[in-house]
Every structure is written in structure tokens, then in C-alpha cells.
């Protein structure tokens, strides 16, 4: 009872921040006196030929090319919230699938891949790529030969190999994902596509942000699968997908909701980092990260150019974190 009440305070605080942001995003651009994309070379310029600070006409000052910072912040809010939520949708979908499947099949028998076949195929791939098709076929043949010899002559070491199951494969993919250079991937994707749009950023963030969710859901699924009704369903011979959808998923949904909320916070953070590094949505789109990037070598003289987007990012991320906190307390879930 007490924890629910406390939880609702955090949830309320978070919710109020998020709602305030949504309102700002919706009506901000309509209320602002200037357009977010038009430079004002008359009113926005100070006598020293620098952008003016917060004043009557420009509520949050003007940016490096004399556009209205307030209007840009509001349009940026639209972009950040939209990207955060859509990317989370994608990441959560992938992460939930991978996590649940992985957790369900954890510890299962799986199949055995003998070392000989594994190394043989690897060698074949490398040789084939190098253009030595003949050698590649030979490598596979050798691998197979070793395996068969082991079988016939009953030599154990030649038959040995690691055991692999779905869980192991998926978790190795997660490892590769974690070890992969994020920046390179982002640059590669943005170079392959002509134009960095909100869509590409959502895809990139979604495709790289599911790893944490997968791990959390895997742990939770491993807990849930030993619950009574799940065991009962298995005993009754229900199909695996059926059990996963009808029994496991509803029980992990609490953890999923919390993970998703925190994920929105992380997506907004990640998007701002991408914008800050200059690999986010192409300008003149005013994402908060991009606004930080454009304002940063000016911040000692024009701190409003950094303070505005910085505060917005912190507030948005904090809001979703609080919401997640509140959910965590309300649902009584642990870690």
C-alpha cells in the first residue's frame, strides 16, 4: 500500500513533465512569433553582428544563423518525442521477441556442431571470398571427412563440438551488438541512404537499442517459465508459440512496460548524442542534439544556445525516467 502511494508520486511527477513537453511540442510552434526555419537578419542580429539573447521578440534568443530559438526548441520537441517513442516501439518489439524466445529456450538441448565442420566452413567462406573457389570446396570436404572419420573410427575428439541452441545464438548476437562500434554503423547507414531523415534515425536507434531489453526480458522469462500455470500448459501439450503469447507475454508485460519507458528516455538521449556528433537528422531540422552541436562553440558568449536544448533534453529524459520509476514501484517489480 505504502509503496504504491509513493510510486504514484514519482509517476505523477514524471507524467506531469511528459505532458508538459507534449503540450509544448504541440502548441509551441503555433504560438511562437517566428518561424523555426527563417533567419531574421534585421531583428535577430545585435549591433556587433552576433545573435541576440533572450528578449522581447526572441523569447529564447536567436541561434547562430538568426533563427528563433524558442520556435526551434518546440519543433525539436516534436521530433525528439516522436523519434523517442517510435524507436522505442521498434526496439521493444525486437527486444521482446528475442528476449522471450531466448529465455524460453535457455538451457535446452539444442544441437551439436562439431569443431571440424565449423572450422571447415569458416575456412571455406574465407577462401571463397578470396576467389579460390576450388580451395573452398576442399576445405568443406576436409571438414566433412574429419567428421565422418570420427564417426566411423569412433574417435571422440573428432566428433566433439560446442552445443548450440537458440538462446546461445541469440545471446552471441547480443554480444556482437554490444561490441560493435555504434558510430561506424550509424555513419554507414546514413551514407548508404541518401538523406538522413527521421525514419533512418528511428531505424538505426531501434536496430541498436533492443539489446538491453532483450537481456531483461530473457531473465524475466526464465523466471516466468517455471511458474505453475506455465508448467501446466506445457504438460497439457499446448504449442510453444501459444504458450509464449498467451501465458508468458502477459506476465512479462510489467517488466516490458518499465523497460519501454526507460527506453524512451534512452532513445531521446541517444538521439541527442547523434545530433551532437552531427550524424543525426540533416539540418535544418532543429533536433535538440543538433541545436547543441550548432551552439557549442558559441556557448561562452551565448549560453542560451546551449542552456535551452540542454534543459529540454534533461527534462525529457528525466520525465521518462521518473515515469519508469513510478511504474516500477507501482508494479512492485524488483530490478
Amino acid at each position: 500500500m505504502t509503496s504504491r502511494w509513493r510510486g504514484s508520486r514519482a509517476a505523477r511527477a514524471g507524467l506531469s513533465i511528459v505532458v508538459a513537453l507534449a503540450v509544448f511540442a504541440t502548441i509551441g510552434p503555433l504560438v511562437a512569433p517566428h518561424d523555426a526555419f527563417t533567419s531574421d537578419f534585421t531583428n535577430g542580429v545585435s549591433p556587433l553582428h552576433t545573435p541576440i539573447g533572450p528578449s522581447r521578440h526572441f523569447w529564447l534568443g536567436a541561434d547562430r544563423i538568426y533563427r528563433d530559438e524558442f520556435a526551434r526548441l518546440a519543433v525539436g520537441a516534436r521530433l525528439s518525442l516522436a523519434i523517442g517513442m517510435l524507436a522505442t516501439l521498434l526496439a521493444t518489439a525486437i527486444g521482446a521477441t528475442v528476449g522471450v524466445v531466448s529465455g524460453w529456450f535457455e538451457g535446452s538441448e539444442g544441437t551439436r556442431i562439431p569443431w571440424s565442420i565449423g572450422i571447415g566452413s569458416l575456412g571455406a567462406v574465407v577462401l571463397a571470398l578470396a576467389g579460390h573457389g576450388g580451395w573452398a570446396v576442399l576445405a568443406i570436404a576436409i571438414g566433412l571427412a574429419v567428421r565422418v572419420t570420427g564417426e566411423l573410427a569412433r574417435i571422440e575428439p573428432l566428433k566433439r563440438g560446442p552445443r548450440v541452441n537458440v538462446d546461445m545464438l541469440l545471446m552471441r548476437m547480443v554480444d556482437v551488438g554490444l561490441a560493435f562500434p555504434f558510430l561506424l554503423l550509424v555513419m554507414a547507414i546514413s551514407a548508404a541512404l541518401d538523406h538522413t531523415t527521421a525514419t533512418t534515425v528511428v531505424l538505426v536507434l531501434g536496430a541498436t537499442g533492443w539489446l538491453g531489453t532483450a537481456r531483461v526480458l530473457r531473465a524475466k522469462t526464465m523466471q516466468v517459465r517455471s511458474l505453475d500455470f506455465v508448467l501446466a500448459a506445457r504438460a497439457l501439450g499446448r504449442s510453444t508459440p501459444g504458450i509464449l503469447l498467451r501465458h508468458v507475454l502477459p506476465n512479462v508485460s510489467g517488466v516490458l512496460a518499465i523497460a519501454a519507458t526507460i527506453s524512451v528516455a534512452q532513445m531521446i538521449l541517444a538521439e541527442s548524442i547523434l545530433g551532437y556528433l552531427g550524424v543525426g537528422i540533416a539540418p535544418p531540422a532543429p533536433t535538440w542534439g543538433r541545436m547543441l552541436y550548432e551552439g557549442q562553440d558559441y556557448y561562452l558568449a551565448g549560453p542560451w544556445l546551449v542552456a535551452a536544448p540542454a534543459t529540454a533534453i534533461i527534462a525529457a529524459v528525466l520525465g521518462f525516467h521518473l515515469l519508469g520509476e513510478g511504474l516500477k514501484d507501482a508494479l512492485g517489480a524488483r530490478d
Binding site: 533567419s39 547562430r64 551565448g302 528525466l318 514501484d329
Partner: protein
């Protein structure tokens, strides 16, 4: 557990502190005065501390490709000729240069008794060896083709001959270089970094692990170059100009990419000259009367504009290009960083030899721009927003760059004549691969940094059809005009300076009218130095011309305001070591 109030308070505190901290600006520090400001006699001694945003790629002369690297190489290696402070080519290692054979050969008489940094004497055979090493087919030199007018170059570059026939050693101190055609750009090209003389220990062919050794006013000690971080050059005690250099040493902090950091170090006396200041700091230094005599805008070294690919619609239509050139408000662009930008309206920028002050070039004229669009067949009505070119125009640029800002101003200007520009930002290598290849890039920001101060250097690579390549074009607009090609070729072998100038002026007019580029601005570095740095001057070609700079301060008089914490820590740890 959590109160909304606690969070509110934290956020407000954070926001306030950011504003408060940001709001108070530290006042500009006073300059550190010279010890004897009225005394003009140079004093020997001291180390000059500099910083640079850029990095030095190499200390091997033939490999240099940018002006900063070349300027540093020039301090370490002497060459046959050099540029003086007026941009003229003057003898350097050579005591005299004679033009013979009606301009088809040059004879260089070397100074006698010049010593390399490793003690060996510099003779004509070292000159030949250095030139052959630089132009060898195994040397990855980006500027080798500047010298293709040397006789025998083609045979040598394609490995048909083991030596460069056109460079002859006529005596111990006499070198003759023969050209197979007259070339007015040969001597300026020779003054650049690539063919400067290297020590015998550098050998005859290129190897990546060269230790820098030449005959210039400064030398590199072992360990003096910490890659990507600092470079220290030390006085060459046996430099052939007696008395020079005055400085004991000069050091650079490399990759100092944070303008705030540089300004900060300058104000504390950690660096003595600063040229990468932010907009605000530039304005403050400009406006402070104490600093008046110690700040200057460097000469123009290049120009920037937008290149329009004449092979891709709509820029195959000359009227559209004229419209673009007239629609861009260059004053607005300059206002984005007014302390460093100057408007440029033609290919040869102001301050360059060959600059034509009587010709206005491209001009901002909105009405004319609309008229050109109409003539092109794509009329645009600003009131309704109807018309113009129907598809978006993709503008390729790289980050980080100033163009990320200026492009957005250009974008707004072109929207007003019905051209919708979409920015496609990538990294520099990707940008190069797009803009240097045929058919890949519709429009992009381009510029040219002078290789040597001559109008041909700005006009030929960019606008001659000979410069067009499938994969590696330098004529980014793929612009072809037979009259322009003809004029440029004639100017190259023209020996009468007035006639030559007229040919280049003619070419400029055609190019500005047909507008393969919309010329926009030139970037000039704003430099501030401490008063105790004497005789610091700009140079039309080189950055950091410090051979005759001297320091005028008492030892340790400059209070290096080290923080007490730092000093105590350094002292303590120094002892412990």
C-alpha cells in the same frame, strides 16, 4: 520516496546555475607588454608557443598537401627559391636564378658552404637527388604533376628512365633545369614545399619512416614531433643566413580544435599567438583598444563558393545558374561570421595577384534572379510559391564545416526563387568520393586554397576542361568552354605580364557570367599576438612565417598563472619521481 518538489527544485537549480554561470563573462585579459617596446633591435632567445586547429600530416616535403603542413616543412627544409613577403619568387638556397634559352631553362647558382642539419655540405647533386626523390613514381606525392613541364618528366614518371633528364648537375654548385615547354608557373611551383632539398640520409627513394632533416632555419630534434599532439622545432645553428633565426625554438600544439581552449591558453600566456578564435572572442579583441596594435586579419589565401554540376539538370541550363548566382545574398552569409568572412564575387579573390578591382563579378539582385528563372523556363511566383524547379536539389556537404551554417542561409535564399535545396551531410571522404566523380553530386560547396599566388592556380584546375576526369575531377562543375580553355593555354606561355593579365581578366568575366560556380566568401584568419612577440607578420602564401620573429620579454616575467593546486601537485609528484 520521491517528491515532485525535490525534482522541481533540482531542475530549477540546474537551469539557474547554467544561466548564471554562462551570464557572467570574464573580462578580456590585458596583453603582456614587451620588455623594450621602443627598441627595434632583435634579441636572440626564447621559445615561441603556437597552436593549430589542424594537424601536420607529414614532415616529408613531397607528401605535403595542405598549406599548414607545407608552411612547417618550409621552416625545416630550404628550397632553391622561396616566396618573399610580397608574394614574389626570390632565390633562397640559390644565390641567383637565371632564365636561359628563351624561358625553356633555368640555371640556379647555389650558395657555397651551406650545411644540412646533419653536417653534410649541400651541393648540386643533393638538389638533383631531392627532385628525383620527390617526383619518383614510387613516391605518393600529391603535387608531382605541377612539375610535368620538366623535360623527361613523363619518361621518369612512367619508369622508363632511372633519372630525370631535365635536371642537370653542371658543377658542384650549379644546377640547370630544362623544360620542354615554356611555363610561367614553374618558378612559383618550385618555391612550394615538394621539391625542397632533403639530407643525404633521406636517400634516393621514398620511405615512410623518414626523420626530418634539411637545410632550413629550424630543425627537428629526436622526439620533437609527438604525432597529433605537439611539434617542436629548434634553431638550426648553422643556418646559411647568419644571425637567423632569432628564436631558440618554436612549438605548436596540434589538433587544438576548441577555440575556447585556445583563447583561454592565450590569455594565460601558454600560447603566444592565437588564430583560431571564436566569433565572440574575435569581436572582443577587435574592440579592445589595448589590443589594437596586436591584432590583424591575415591575408586572403583562397575562396569558397557553390559549385553547380553543369551536367546534371537543372544546372545544365545557364539561366538557372545565373539565377542562383544572383539570388544568393552574400552580405547575409558574411554576417554569419563577420569578423572572418569577406564577400567574394569572382574566382580570383581580393589580395591575390591578378585580382581585377574594376570588375564587379556576380551580384545579389533578387529581381534579376527571378527574371533569369523565367528565362530558363521555370518561372516562380513568390506570392503563391508556385513554379520553380519541381524536384529537390541535393546539396552535398561535409561536417564539421562552416558551410553547415552558410548553406542554410543559401537554402533560404534559393527557396525564394523556387529552388528547393536539400542538405545531404556526410563526412569528408564520402564527400570527396561524390564530388570528384562524374554524375554523383548535383551541387556542393567548393573552394580553392592557393598553391601559389597566381591567377592560373585558381582558374585552370577549376574551370579548364582538361581538369575534368571521370573519377578524379578537379573541375567540380564539369564546365566546358573552348574559349576559356584557349585563353588559359595562351596565358600559360605568355611572357608579357600585361597581356597575360588581360587574358585572365577575360576568362574571369566569362566564368562569372556563365556561373558554373556561385562565388560566395573568403575566410580570413584573425590573429592576435602578445606584444612581446616582435616582427610577427602575415605572408601571402605561408602560415607562420617565423624565421625573423623575435621575443622581447624578460625571462619568466610572464606570470604563468598556474593554479596553486596544479603547482603543488606537480612539485610533489616531481619529487616523488
Amino acid at each position: 520516496m520521491l517528491s515532485a518538489r525535490a525534482i522541481e527544485r533540482t531542475l530549477v537549480a540546474l537551469a539557474t546555475s547554467l544561466v548564471v554561470l554562462g551570464g557572467c563573462n570574464a573580462a578580456l585579459e590585458a596583453p603582456f607588454a614587451a620588455a623594450h617596446p621602443d627598441d627595434e633591435t632583435p634579441r636572440r632567445g626564447g621559445t615561441l608557443h603556437l597552436a593549430s586547429i589542424a594537424d601536420i600530416a607529414t614532415l616529408d616535403p613531397p607528401i605535403a598537401s595542405d598549406m599548414f603542413t607545407s608552411s612547417v616543412i618550409r621552416l625545416v627544409y630550404a628550397g632553391l627559391v622561396d616566396f618573399d613577403r610580397n608574394g614574389n619568387v626570390v632565390p633562397d638556397l640559390a644565390s641567383r636564378v637565371d632564365e636561359v634559352d628563351d624561358g625553356l631553362a633555368y640555371r640556379f647558382t647555389l650558395r657555397q658552404g651551406v650545411r644540412f642539419h646533419d653536417g653534410a655540405e649541400l651541393t648540386a647533386s643533393d638538389v638533383k637527388r631531392s627532385i628525383e626523390r620527390a617526383l619518383s613514381p614510387t613516391t605518393p606525392s600529391p603535387t608531382a604533376s605541377f612539375y610535368q613541364s620538366i623535360e623527361g618528366y613523363d619518361a621518369y614518371a612512367s619508369k622508363k628512365t632511372p633519372h630525370l633528364e631535365g635536371v642537370e648537375v653542371e658543377g658542384r654548385y650549379l644546377v640547370l633545369i630544362r623544360l620542354h615547354e615554356r611555363d610561367s608557373t614553374f618558378l612559383p611551383a618550385l618555391a612550394m614545399a615538394a621539391l625542397r632539398v632533403t639530407c643525404p640520409s633521406a636517400g634516393e627513394s621514398y620511405s615512410p619512416s623518414l626523420s626530418a632533416c634539411g637545410a632550413g632555419p629550424f630543425r627537428v630534434m629526436p622526439g620533437g614531433w609527438e604525432r597529433g599532439r605537439t611539434l617542436t622545432l629548434v634553431r638550426n645553428e648553422s643556418y646559411f643566413r647568419p644571425g637567423l633565426p632569432y628564436l631558440d625554438a618554436v612549438t605548436w600544439q596540434l589538433n587544438a580544435s576548441n577555440p575556447a581552449s585556445q583563447a583561454f591558453k592565450f590569455s594565460r600566456g601558454e600560447i603566444d599567438v592565437v588564430r583560431d578564435l571564436s566569433q565572440t572572442d574575435t569581436i572582443r579583441y577587435e574592440g579592445d583598444p589595448r589590443w589594437k596594435s596586436f591584432v590583424a586579419l591575415e591575408p586572403v589565401h583562397g575562396m569558397q563558393g557553390d559549385s553547380m554540376n553543369t551536367e546534371i539538370p537543372p544546372f545544365d541550363n545557364v539561366e538557372v545558374r545565373r539565377a542562383v548566382a544572383a539570388a544568393i545574398d552574400r552580405d547575409h552569409i558574411v554576417m554569419l561570421k563577420s569578423s572572418n568572412l569577406t564577400a567574394v564575387t569572382k574566382p580570383v579573390p581580393p589580395g591575390m595577384p591578378g585580382y581585377d578591382p574594376h570588375f564587379e563579378g556576380q551580384r545579389y539582385d533578387y529581381a534579376a534572379a527571378l527574371a533569369h528563372m523565367k528565362k530558363a523556363g521555370y518561372p516562380f511566383d513568390p506570392a503563391t510559391g508556385q513554379g520553380g524547379w519541381p524536384a529537390p536539389i541535393v546539396y552535398d556537404l561535409a561536417r564539421p564545416s562552416l558551410q553547415e551554417l552558410t548553406a542554410m542561409s543559401m537554402q533560404q535564399d534559393l527557396a525564394k526563387i523556387g529552388l528547393r535545396v536539400q542538405l545531404r551531410i556526410s563526412s569528408l571522404p564520402t564527400l570527396y568520393s561524390l564530388t570528384h566523380r562524374r554524375g554523383k553530386s548535383q551541387m556542393s560547396p567548393q573552394g580553392w586554397e592557393e598553391d601559389f599566388p597566381d591567377p592560373s592556380n585558381f582558374l585552370e584546375p577549376l574551370f579548364s576542361s582538361k581538369s575534368i576526369g571521370e573519377e578524379d575531377t578537379l573541375n567540380y562543375a564539369f564546365y566546358r568552354n573552348a574559349a576559356v580553355d584557349d585563353a588559359l593555354a595562351r596565358a600559360r606561355s605568355e611572357r608579357d605580364p600585361a597581356a597575360r593579365a588581360r587574358l585572365y581578366e577575360q576568362t574571369e568575366r566569362v566564368i562569372c557570367d556563365e556561373a558554373p560556380w556561385a562565388f560566395e566568401f573568403a575566410y580570413r584568419f584573425f590573429q592576435a599576438h602578445q606584444p612581446y612577440v616582435r616582427n610577427l607578420h602575415g605572408h601571402p602564401v605561408w602560415i607562420a612565417d617565423v624565421t625573423d620573429v623575435w621575443l622581447d620579454r624578460e625571462r619568466d616575467a610572464v606570470a604563468r598563472k598556474e593554479a596553486p593546486l596544479l603547482r603543488a601537485l606537480s612539485a610533489g609528484l616531481g619529487v616523488a619521481r
